[in-house]
Symmetry: D2
Subunit: 150 residues, 4 copies
């Protein structure tokens, strides 16, 4: 349980490890309603790993995705800068892609880090948060100049 | 209250009307916590207009955006095919952009329709849902072939 | 489409009408994933009716319940004070009960109004928002005295 | 980081420790928008502790509460049976109460466990999940007999 730093790994090895952890995380998915298991693993700036899975609810809109589980876990342990996240599902022929809500939560913590969308065989497609959520609404928008509302 | 069809309008006039309605919708925003007013107007395939605003909550994560308000309104009245949505805010120098969750809710009802991000002066930037949420997760993903979970 | 005021109805007739509308609203439910249809009808302080249904999403946690659809609709049309809401589902032998998120959204607009949980035969169980969400977190909590965080 | 079992503690000591951890968790709150810090600590059936905090988003409705952060963390590490959760905020004179969405997520994992609503001085009010979310909608509702939808 918990993150663990693996020093001495090359960048390529870290991503391989990240993808492996996303697949492992999938094993904890609580998805009795959709039966659609998803796992995610997050790599922080200082090489800690955080694993997340989807956690559903009988009121389906109160569930949460694997990616957000991993991110809130990391934040709750004091990590807010990320290098990469890997996502794993059971879809045999498709790279699992993050939903819009997860893209927005990723973007809260920067738009220039990497998202690895994977298949069960470990193959992957990489895109940045910015590529997945172009022209994004973000923290800066809340403080820009507003027109007079009167 | 409610949608109203405006026949006889040219496509350009319909978009101008849509943007006008998004600005009007902003006037109903319930946002005592963020003070960030947003309005949206949705144009259905058969030329009905639906207006939405953000509706916040003391538990901030239980609020909802203007775009989703407009879409759920339309669906609850039997409309599920859309031509365009316009979004309006009070940001003077920025086109208001939809959050990731709203992009995902738009995408549920098709990825080839238009999103007009506007400024208070009525100027706008147009993108399709697909451009705003590339490589999206969608309804089809739930029924594709899965690996054996053992 | 849209709300309509029915004057001249007795209080009992208004509730009967509200329950009828919640059942009608259920007919618009967009729930391809759960197949669990829910409808809601909201009665405003000035006797307008607003109908809502659940609107689901392929990313299941991005759906919204019928009750919240009805409430955000009403707010977007300028109504923020409510007398009652009725909820309808297809559960033959159970009164459909609102989820916690919907209770919180109801509570945002007051805790002393009525929730009618119904069965398909129109029979119902009535409780107030306050009874359904006791000791609630609400708007006032955001402005009470805080300890020094330093 | 991560949970840790503290054996040898009396039930009273465990709750004291749980409340202490909820206060500690508050220190990690990411709440630049509301400035309303909340912490939560969850005690599993086998005496592991999980800490959560609120994690907000520029799109305010995409944030998540401390209680849900703690619960999804525990589930992602394989824990689904809980004894108690403690919640802490900076409100000097009020016991912090969980929002409706958090009550629903608690209820997903049983309705007979304890919720400790605390003040910064460590004093608390205890209620069960069932008392906080009476007549709840839950997992069983999804499988009961439905009327024919035709
Ligand atoms: Zn997601
Ligand atoms: Zn949005
Ligand atoms: Zn609900
Ligand atoms: Zn909450």
């Amino acid at each position: 349980a918990g993150p663990f730093a693996r020093s001495g790994l090359t960048p390529v090895d870290k991503i391989r490890e990240l993808i492996r952890q996303s697949q492992e995380a999938k094993g904890q998915a609580y998805c009795p309603y959709s039966k659609f298991r998803v796992g995610a693993a997050l790599l922080t700036d200082n090489d800690c790993y955080f694993k997340g899975c989807n956690v559903e609810n009988a009121c389906t809109n109160l569930g949460v995705c694997a990616e957000r589980t991993a991110i809130t876990k990391a934040v709750s342990e004091g990590h807010k800068t990320f290098k990469a996240i890997a996502i794993a599902s059971d879809m045999e022929d498709k790279f699992i892609s993050p939903c819009g809500a997860c893209r927005q939560v990723m973007r809260e913590f920067g738009s220039k880090w990497d998202v690895y969308m994977t298949k069960p065989d470990g193959s992957h497609k990489k895109m940045t948060v910015d590529e997945l959520l172009p022209i994004s609404f973000g923290p800066d928008d809340l403080s820009v100049k507003k027109i007079n509302k009167n």
